[in-house]
């Protein structure tokens, strides 16, 4: 039963990838059949941990948080790995997810992405198919929009927007906002329908190098609707302010 639904999710992801690849057939590289390995298509990659932080809750628990992504590939086609999660004070992992995505450049600034997401926490663990759009919106806003279909067929979505405001050449203020949505409630994961939660943060980092930039920041998180009701019933907080310190890594 479970295996079957995993397969379904995986298959839908594969189909999505296939559709992406099929579209611009003329984009296929012209073969330089008689020529040596001299194509000038450069393959490269990067790893970015935008958040690697510990936060002190003003009226809630302290939490550790990470949010990272990595990619490898050419100019148009790339593979992405994304992960994010939170730990509670005792070090227990509250939520942890990992995504493996195929990504294709579809506009000057935009990648269409599709693949799978696996939530190790919270229990029960769960697979999702992912389709997403990531890129740079006018005004230099970094945007990541994702839609998910779980192995049970539940639909949900996530939107993240952030902006790097350079105060000086190395001091950067980064406001960001993230929201999660669900089309239906998923009681076993304590997820209600509608907007589940919203989080806004403001991080001030100092770029000693582009690679290593420590930061301090503040964030506000709030669960909404049925999701908040689930939390209250469990005796958890539904939101609050957090001061945090962390380090941004970019390699």
């Amino acid at each position: 039963m479970k295996t079957k639904s995993i397969l379904t999710a995986a298959a839908s992801a594969v189909l999505a990838i296939g559709a992406l690849q099929a579209a611009p057939a003329h984009a296929q590289a012209m073969p330089h059949s008689t020529e040596p390995p001299f194509s000038h298509e450069v393959f490269t990659g990067a790893v970015l941990f935008e958040k690697l932080e510990y936060g002190w809750g003003l009226d809630g628990p302290n939490i550790g948080r990470w949010d990272g992504q990595a990619w490898y590939g050419g100019d148009v086609n790339r593979v992405w790995l994304k992960t994010e999660g939170e730990t509670a004070r005792n070090g227990r992992v509250e939520s942890a997810e990992i995504q493996l995505l195929y990504s294709r450049l579809i506009g000057y600034y935009w990648d269409l992405q599709a693949g799978v997401r696996y939530d190790i926490r919270p229990r029960p663990d769960r697979f999702y198919g992912v389709i997403g759009l990531q890129g740079l919106a006018p005004g230099m806003f970094e945007v990541d929009l994702q839609g998910f279909v779980s192995e049970r067929g539940d639909l949900s979505a996530r939107a993240e927007v952030s902006y790097d405001a350079y105060i000086t050449q190395r001091l950067v203020l980064q406001p960001n906002i993230e929201a999660n949505f669900a089309l239906q409630k998923v009681p076993e994961l304590h997820v209600g329908s509608g907007i589940n939660d919203i989080e806004a943060g403001l991080r001030l980092r100092y770029e000693f190098t582009r690679e290593v930039s420590p930061y301090i920041g503040v964030s506000y998180e709030r669960k909404l609707g049925d999701t908040a009701r689930y939390a209250r019933n469990d005796g958890e907080d539904v939101g609050g302010w957090t001061f945090m310190t962390g380090i941004r890594l970019f390699f």
Binding site: E35, P36, Y109, L136
Partner: protein
């Protein structure tokens, strides 16, 4: 610098560092005999450890030195050059600017029958020298050029030059980074602003607003910021790569290479820009310079105070210091990140004169963008490859220009009428706004009535080619002398004027000042106009020609014996020194038969320029931007010159 372990062949002459050959001592010059055995030269490429900045870093050297040895040839002789590859990777050597058979040109996979030189292998080049002048050579494999695989070539003329001089120095400019070149590419790919520490910031905004005279100026500053933000472009991105140390003949600014002279002598300086990514603005405070050769070819002498030299260009200048004082030759990087410098002095070992403060750093304006407001609906580079057939990236026929019918990209050359209104930008034909009509070539539009062009505001006519406008000499007259010329609202960049930030009245070299002393080709109409749009994606850091990166592109096909006109339309915000192998490029700068013969033509951001090519060299030739990382990430094509019969059978 790395030449302490030199076991050079005598034939190679002295290392560049020590090279100072007075013309009189052309001692090795034997008369070129008709069927003499070719002279033989040996170059060995190897990994070395270089210490340029105080850190020991991996580098690559030719015969153990950076730059490699000077190759001193004689016009009319035939030479054999054995290149031994002791690197752990594939390599190649290309003879930049030399007119030779395709098979000897040294570009793996493009030159006829040449697949590069395997690790451990030796390749023998053999070619006759049909020209004289200052050239250079470098690796054409990957980014080895940045690691140190470059050197200079001097070809002594068979007949006396039309100018005299007492001393002769090579001035090979280059840019050195302690990073490995592959690391540089990776950095640019993951963050195109990686090296830019001169971004616009909130702090600089506050400063600008404080300095602004009135409210209108303040709102202009803010709206300019908003506009660049909406375009998702960075106007402070002048040089993609930073962290460079700028070298003269391998000498750092602190080492201060010295060229000796005696007062009253005429000194020839052979400037070669071997920088991977650097345009240099060159001046000698206190001295004027007379340009006598451009790209190896004699030009009618032109006296200037300053010149800009793009990557791969060479200019030979004469200076005449009358007194015995020390002069400092300054080559400031276009993005003002540093200087290369050396001294002209009467004795060795003097410390460098104090450097002046940097000239103001250029900031791009909307005019540099060709009034092209970014990729949102308009064409600023092309994210995805376009369909183009070999050699048929031709512009459209103005006569039949019906805006409503402009739906299809003109794939073939049919409908093209040589002179008529070429250069229109077809990149984003669907839903084409007039503001994207860059590249209109004014001189080629006889009798064109602008008023009849519906909706075409002057301000939208971006990138018009002023190259042919006679009598317009911005370069040598400096700013403020443009009286009587009404640009109206057309704030487009002049493709031939280099804004080096010189003081008013300074004479700055422009291609317009270059007049070939001995034109090689009679003037004739081009048989075809081939549109070469320079495109790319700054955000992902890849570059392309007509929207196609090299790995996706078809060759451009030229017919042997034709005169093709490349109509360059730079749709990016960077300068692109475009280099064609094997044939001269003749930019149409308005000097008629005396238009200069160049091997590399610098195309400024947002500008348009016509460049003619006499396709007289059969075979496969590389054609690319000489910004090393632009080439490496896609701004390159193969040009195939084939006989008309071959072209027909291929079709």
């Amino acid at each position: 610098m790395t030449n302490d372990k030199l076991s050079r062949r005598r034939a190679l002459g002295l290392g560049v560092a020590a090279l100072a050959f007075p013309a009189a001592s052309g001692a090795s010059a034997q008369p070129a005999v008709g069927r003499a055995m070719p002279r033989e030269f040996n170059l060995t490429l190897s990994h070395v450890t270089a210490n340029i900045t105080g850190r020991r870093r991996p580098a690559m050297a030719i015969n153990g030195q950076i730059p490699g040895p000077v190759l001193r040839f004689r016009e009319g002789e035939e030479v054999v050059i054995n290149v031994t590859n002791r690197l752990r990777e594939h390599t190649s050597i290309h003879w930049h600017g030399l007119i030779l058979p395709s098979s000897q040109d040294g570009v793996p996979g493009i030159s006829d029958g040449f697949q590069g030189i395997d690790a451990g292998g030796t390749h023998q080049y053999r070619f006759p020298l049909v020209q004289a002048g200052t050239y250079w050579y470098h690796s054409h494999s990957g980014v080895q050029e940045q690691s140190g695989i470059y050197g200079s070539i001097v070809i002594d003329p068979a007949t006396p030059e039309p100018f005299g001089y007492d001393r002769d120095y090579i001035v090979q400019l280059s840019d050195w980074t302690d990073e490995t070149p592959s690391h540089v590419i990776a950095n640019l790919k993951r963050d195109p602003g990686y090296y830019n520490y001169n971004k616009r910031t909130l702090a600089s905004l506050v400063g600008e607003l404080r300095r602004a005279p009135d409210g209108a100026a303040r709102s202009a500053i803010v709206s300019d910021r908003v506009m660049w933000g909406d375009m998702r472009m960075d106007p402070t991105d002048i040089e993609d790569v930073g962290g460079y140390t700028y070298l003269v003949n391998g000498h750092t600014p602190a080492q201060n290479f010295t060229a000796l002279f005696r007062p009253g002598e005429t000194v020839r300086l052979r400037f070669i820009n071997s920088g991977a990514m650097t345009h240099f603005d060159v001046r000698v405070p206190g001295l004027e310079m007379t340009v006598v050769q451009a790209h190896g070819n004699n030009v009618r002498p032109v006296t200037v105070d300053e010149f800009r030299i793009a990557p791969a260009e060479t200019f030979d200048v004469l200076v005449r210091p009358r007194d015995g004082r020390q002069y400092q030759v300054l080559a400031e990087s276009m993005g003002r990140q540093g200087f290369a410098q050396f001294s002209l002095a009467t004795r060795e070992g003097l410390p460098a004169l104090p450097l002046p403060p940097h000239r103001p750093r250029p900031v791009l304006t909307m005019a540099d963008m060709g009034m092209n407001y970014g990729p949102s609906g308009l064409d600023r580079g092309t994210p995805m490859p376009e369909v183009d057939a070999p050699g048929h990236v031709a512009p459209m026929d103005m006569g039949g220009m019906d805006h409503s019918a402009m739906q299809m990209p003109a794939g073939g050359s049919q409908g093209m009428q040589g002179q008529s209104m070429g250069g229109m930008n077809h990149g984003n034909m669907a839903g084409m706004g007039h503001s994207s009509m860059s590249g209109m070539n004014q001189p080629a539009m006889p009798g064109m009535d602008h008023s009849s062009m519906r909706g075409m505001a002057p301000s939208s006519m971006a990138g018009m080619n002023h190259g042919n406008m006679p009598g317009m000499n911005h370069g040598s007259t400096g700013a403020g002398a443009m009286g009587g010329m009404d640009h109206g609202a057309m704030a487009m960049p002049d493709p031939l004027v280099n804004d080096v930030g010189a003081p008013p009245g300074a004479r700055v070299l422009s291609y317009r000042n270059l007049r070939a002393a001995k034109p090689l080709y009679p003037v004739r109409e081009p048989t075809r106009i081939i549109e070469i749009r320079l495109t790319g994606n700054m955000e992902r850091y890849f570059w392309s020609i007509n929207g196609n990166s090299f790995s996706q592109a078809q060759p451009i096909q030229l017919h042997l014996g034709e005169r093709a006109r490349f109509r360059f339309v730079n749709e990016t915000m960077m300068s692109h020194p475009m280099h064609l192998h094997g044939m001269w490029m003749i930019p149409q700068v308005g000097n008629g038969a005396e238009n200069p013969l160049l091997h590399t033509v610098n195309i400024k951001p947002g500008s348009t320029l016509d460049v003619d090519i006499e396709a007289d060299a059969p075979g496969g030739w590389a054609f690319h931007c000489h910004m090393l990382y632009h080439m490496e990430t896609g701004m390159m094509r193969k040009v195939s010159v084939v006989s008309a019969r071959q072209a027909a059978s291929a079709r």
